[in-house]
Structures are given as C-alpha cells and as structure tokens.
Amino acid sequence: MIDFSAYGEQTPHIHGFRCQKCGTIYYPAPMVCGKCDATRDPVTGRGWEEFDLEGRCTLLTWTRVWNLPEGFNKKFLMFGMVSFPNGLKASGRIEMEGDPKIGMALVARTIEADERPGKPVKVFVFELA
C-alpha cells in the first residue's frame, strides 16, 4: 500500500534530452535527432536520456515586458535568454532587482506557474548566481 501523504511534492524540473545513439543533446525535445536520425517515442522516451536542465548559465539578452498577456496580474515581468555550459540555450523569466547585464552569470531553476487557465506549467526562473 502506498501512503501518498508520505511523499512530498516533487520539485519541478525542466529536462534536456540526450540521444543515446550519438550523444547529441537538445532542449526542447526533438522527434528526430538532427545528427543521426534516431527517433524519439514521445510516450516511452526509449533511446533517449532525460537530464535536468538547471544550474549556472550566462545571460545572452533580456527584456522587461510591460504589456503582459491575459492571466498575468503583474505590472511587468523580465524575460531572458541564457546559455548553459553544455551549449544548450533556453528562454525564461528573470527574477532579480534592477537591470540585468548581458553576459552576467545566473542560476536557472524551475517553478510551476498557473497564471493561465489549465494545468500549471513548468517555467524557467533565472536568478543571480
């Protein structure tokens, strides 16, 4: 018998994907490896390894958006594009005081956000390292 209450809420993660045939890494997941043509089964993930995409990254560019879409009840949000040491890049939100600087070191983590209707979604948050 499983006692669900014994298990705490899992920390959300966003995954990168590694093709086990040739080792090429991706984010987000492709259906076909661009290097070796290996296909990914979206249900079983067979032949592909998932890994947490998080930790240190470098800010490539950023913006502060004032006209947020339906569902967001904040005055503004900052967004940025980062590169990870493994070469993968990603877009997400920036949470820090003041203006970010292109090239600055940040740390990526994942939260669950529910501004829009429907199930909560996983969102990258980039913060000061």
Partner: protein, 399 residues
Amino acid sequence: MAPRIGIVGAGHCRFGNSSDYDLVDVIAYAANEAFVDAGGLALRKEVDQVLVANMAGGLFNRETAVASALVSRMDMEPCPAELVENGPASGASAVKLGYMAIASGMADVVLVAAGEVMRSVTGWEATDIVATMAHKEAEYNMGLTLPGFAGMFTRLYMQKYGLTERDLALVAVKDHDNAAKNIYAHVQIPVTIEAIADGPEASVVNNYVAEPLRMYSTCPITDGSAAVILVNMDSPKARLFKKKPIRIAGIASATDTHCVHNRKDPLVLDAVRLSAEKAYKMAGIGPKDISFAELHDAFVIFELLISEEVGFFERGTSFLAVRNHETDLRGRLPINTSGGLKAKGHPVGATGVSQIFELVRQLRGEAEEGRQVKDPKYGMAVNFGGFGNNVVTTILAKD
C-alpha cells in the same frame, strides 16, 4: 516551363476596428473589391480555386472553415476552396499556393482573400493568442510573447551595432508619415520625433512595451482584409480581366528553428535571407533592382533586420540608412511605403496579401498623390510567420 502568372485584381478594406462585423463579411468585402478592380463581380464565376488566409479565426472569433463560408457568402459554389494558415505569413503563403496551383496547371484563375478580426478580444487576449505560435513548452508556457522576443532581439542588436532608441523612433516617424497618406491605413496620423523621442514628454507618450521597445516601435492590434486575383497570363481567361497584370516575378519561402534560442546567432534571420535568395533567383534579379519594399515590421527592429538580410544594406548599417532618409518615400529605396505593419496595421492573417496589394498599387502607379514611388519596376514584400521561422518573399514586376 511554368506559365507567366500575374495579379489582375486587388481589393482592400480600411484597416482599423471591424470587431462589430463578421469575419467572413470582412474578408468577402476585400474579395468583392478585387473583382470590381478586375472588371466586375461576374468574374468570380471564372475562378478555379479560392484560397483564404486567416491565422486564428477559431480563437479570435470562434469561426472555423472560413474558406467554405466565404465561397458560399459570395455565391461561388462549387468552386474549390481551402483555408491557408501559416501564422502572420498566412497571406503570402496563400498567394504562393495560388501561384503553385496555376503553375501546376490545376487552375487558371485563383482568388486569394485574407482577413483577421482581432479586436473582438481584449488587447491582452490578442497578445496571448498571437503568442500561441511560439513553442508551447519552451516559450509560450514561460509567459513569453512576440513583443518579449522582439525586445530581447532589439537589445542584442543595440549592443552589437550601436542602434539607439531614437533610431527606432525615426523608423516609426517615417512609417507614420507614409500611413498618413494611405487611405487604407489604420493609423493615418503622422508623429514627430519630438513627440516620441526628443521632447520632454516623449517617455510618457511613447512608453515602454518590452524594453527597449516602446509603443511606437510596435504595431497596433488591427482588423482588416485584403484580396488579390491571380491569373495565368498565357491562358485565354487572362483576356477577361481589364487590368494589365502585375507579374509575380519571384515567390519563395523558407523556415528556421521554431525555438528562437536554438538559432546559432539569434540576430541572424536565415529564413528571410534564404527566401529572398530564392525569390531573387526566380526573378533573375538582385537587391539593387528592387525599386521599393514592404517589409514585415510588426516591430520596427524587423524592418531594419529584414532590409539587411535581403541584401539592401550591410549587416548592422540599415539604421544609418534611415538616419540618412534613404528609405523615405523620396529616398533611394523607399521601405514600407504603405506605412508598414507599424502604422498601416497588422491584422495577422491579412498582412501578407495587404503587402502585395501595396506592391500592385505602386507598380500600377495608383498610390495616392505624395505616396507614389517614382517609376517603380520591381517591388518586394517579406512576410513573417512566427518569430522569423516561416518567411515568404514575393517580388512583383511591372512589365
């Protein structure tokens, strides 16, 4: 050898707010205008294929199968009709598919009608609906929108090439000047550089939308429609139309990564460059032969970047050409003579056909006084789908 294919009719409504009207009526209005322009509504019975461009009627208006509705609304049954959806490049994609239908021999006359009614929802909702073309998991879910991407893109360009916010405002001033003379434009009001950049109230008048992009760096939310009639110029049917065809000299498209972050250099718009190269090759001309251009300036940074990717200016120098008035109506290479998406407006599914409508008017010499380009030979339109990931380039020629 493919037949010569030209445009013999063109129609357009005034862009603005059509939210009290049905999407199909709005599109049908432009189609009717195109037939009137071509010689009369009876010509609709000569159409072999209808293509309707619309990006998101299902979301904005809860209307789908718009092509089927249009042929019925216009008494054109049993003419074949299909809907074309390619984000904000739906319009030019429909023209390209119309060209392919004629080139294949399956049709001699094609009606391409395009429209979008976006103001039926709030501005916030419209921004959200347009953002659904971004990657669902890696972009849309983050809360990113098209203005957000354009803001990040602009900041990178500024850092690399020295573009200033004032330079962006100069593009807006030029586009609004052109739109003020265009009877079809949404915003027919000129703006001054003092009002939106240099004056003491500029930061209030021209507030930030997605830093460093300000309100006058972004297109308005606009409703509207446009239509063109394509004909096989070598077919006997061509003689039924009273207007001399404006020939489609080149039309081509290309794609790029769906996720913007997956591009090697986010500032390089490969799909623009590749689609333009293919269109130039098809037309047998190069950038120096283009007399004027309509470039997809949903954000004014795009006008600058596209003008570089299609070969008009060296990379990182287009804003210097704007400072020197080279892209003004009286400049060496007028860009966005209609006012562009920035001021004419951007009803997403209609925009590509609206750009081609402007090329036709200019090449016929039918633009308003003070807005007509002097003796144009070739006009180019670049229509973006997504954030530059599905791009159509069209070159029209006056023979």
